[in-house]
Every structure is written in structure tokens, then in C-alpha cells.
Symmetry: C2
Subunit: 157 residues, 2 copies
Amino acid sequence: MTQSADRLTIGELAARSGLATSALRYYEELGLISSERTVGGQRRYHRAMLRRLAFVRAAQRVGLSLDEAGQALARLPDDRAPTAAQWAPVARAWQRRIDDQIAELQLLRRKLGGCVGCGCLSLKTCALYNPDDTAATHGPGARWLLGDTPPEPPAHL
Amino acid sequence: MTQSADRLTIGELAARSGLATSALRYYEELGLISSERTVGGQRRYHRAMLRRLAFVRAAQRVGLSLDEAGQALARLPDDRAPTAAQWAPVARAWQRRIDDQIAELQLLRRKLGGCVGCGCLSLKTCALYNPDDTAATHGPGARWLLGDTPPEPPAHL
DNA sequence: GTGAGACTTCAAGCACGCTTGAGGTAAGCG
DNA sequence: CGCTTACCTCAAGCGTGCTTGAAGTCTCAC
């Protein structure tokens, strides 16, 4: 069962991708990777699957679901490395997504920073409590998503 | 059942927090929030719970589980706003976490950028395929997590 | 006092991403 | 050829974070 030819057994693929065999079978069931079968019914994977698996792992780090990863994967060749032209739009889409995530984290970070330093007292303007300013439109008068107890100066979280 | 006194019904808390009543009951079961009961057995929440809920939502955005959020919450007063001294360590821990996340995303972004522009050919050095350099230590000789087909120049994902 | 609507509990279900286990088969070294 | 090890399928289970539904109760405006 140790056949280092050009087709990998599921165990070999698992070892080289760092994923469990159960995960690989699951991915295959989802259509993320594919295999051929031996006469006896065992899976044999083309090395290109390693590429697809790396792609999937990267996709997960970007916060994509396996389903979304599969959709992106569908736009790339399944048995060969993609050309620059095929890869570029996918990479650009991911970069946008990453940028959005970074921006959101930076925003949250700034908000936390403000909260830490400030004595942070204006509950009605505290960004953390009132993330999207939704509270402001929520009823009459001043509205603080968090707190709701106006004159409580050293108040915050 | 519309009692805008100083105790909120679960429906009111849901409306103001943006969470479903089912989620609120679930959170209460997990100990993230607490309530008192009316004679008839209905929940009544102190406004301070809005604060805790905002905290939980922020925690989730930072990638914490509800359990972790609960642990952080346990270090803050449950019925009042925390003091700066109570809040500061929590905020700092979160900021570190956020910084880590941002750093990882930026790294991934750079890798993708490299892949896009490069023609990206050196499978053995491609960062995307070989995220943590784990492949390098994985056996004898050059080892590429993805690819495994060395002389395949315009090859990459 | 009554009726609508909000609330209660408890059990089950769902979606995601897998893992585990049972029971059995294939591959390949010696 | 035999033995060991890796593989196979299928069903069920798990952890997280909730939602849904059934069956019944409480509140409160009128």
C-alpha cells in the first residue's frame, strides 16, 4: 500500500496535505477533490489534488466555507495548475475579502482602544456598544445599545 | 407585556440587542446573561444585560467562542459597567488577538499578491502552497506541499 | 374579566465540518 | 501464499450556535 508512483493513496495524500483521511473522503463527497479507483475500489489521487487541498485550506483561512471554496475551485482546472489568467480573478476576489476583514478588525481594534483609554463615558457614542449606530434609530430620545443608564460616568462595558 | 420599566422582557431585550429570543434563552442557559423571574415565571432582564450582550457580540467578532466570551465576562461585574481597571486587561487581550488576526490576514494577502503577480513558479517556495513551511521538514529532499511536480514552471495553484 | 399576544419549557432539528466505529475488503511485502 | 496494514462503505456522533415546534401559561390593555 505504499506506492509512491504518480497516484497517491488516500493515506499518502493525508500525510502530505496534513488532513485526515476522513476529511479527504468528506471533501471528495463534496466534490472538492476527485479520485480514480483501483480495480479493488480503492482511491488513487492525482498529485494535482494536493494543489486543490492547499487551495481549500487557504480558502478556509480567508473565512470561506467549503461550499464557497468549491465554487472558486470550479473555476480552476482540476488536474493542472491554473494559468495566471485563471488565477488572477480568484486571487483578487480573495484579496478584497481579506481587505474587508482587515478593515473590520482594525475598526474594532480602534474602538477597543478608545474604550480602554477614555474613561469612555459617553455611552451614547461608544462605538463598541453601538457598533452600527443602529441603536440611535431605535426609538425616541437618546438610546444606548449598551448601558441604558445615562448618568453613570465611569461607565463603560 | 409592554413594560418599559427598568426591567426588560425577553422580547424587549431581543429588540434592543438585535438577537432572537431563542438566542437570549440560550445565552442565559450558558450563563452569559442572567434574569429574574416574575411571579408567573417570566424572565425580566436588567438593562445591564444589554451591555453584556454587546460584549458577547464584540467577542464573537474577535473570533471568540461563547464559552470564551463567558470567561471574559466572568471577570467583569454582571450588573454594572466595569471600571477602567477591570476593562483594560480584557481590552488589551482582545487587541492582541485582533493584532494577530490582522497579521495573519496580511501575510495571506501578501502571499496571494505574490502568487498573482509572479507567474509564481517556484512551487517549492510558494508560500500559499506551503503555508507554514511544514512541508519542508516532512521528508527527504525538496518537498512542496502543493504541486509535487517540480519542473512544471508556469505552475501554481 | 377577558382575549390577544408574549411568554414558558422541553425536545428535537439544522448547518457546518468533520470524526468514530463497525464490519468487511484490497494491496503488497516476505 | 499469507499476513499485516491500509483501505472501503455506511451510519451515527460531536461541538458550536442557535432555531423550531408543541403544548401550555402569563400579562396587560380594554
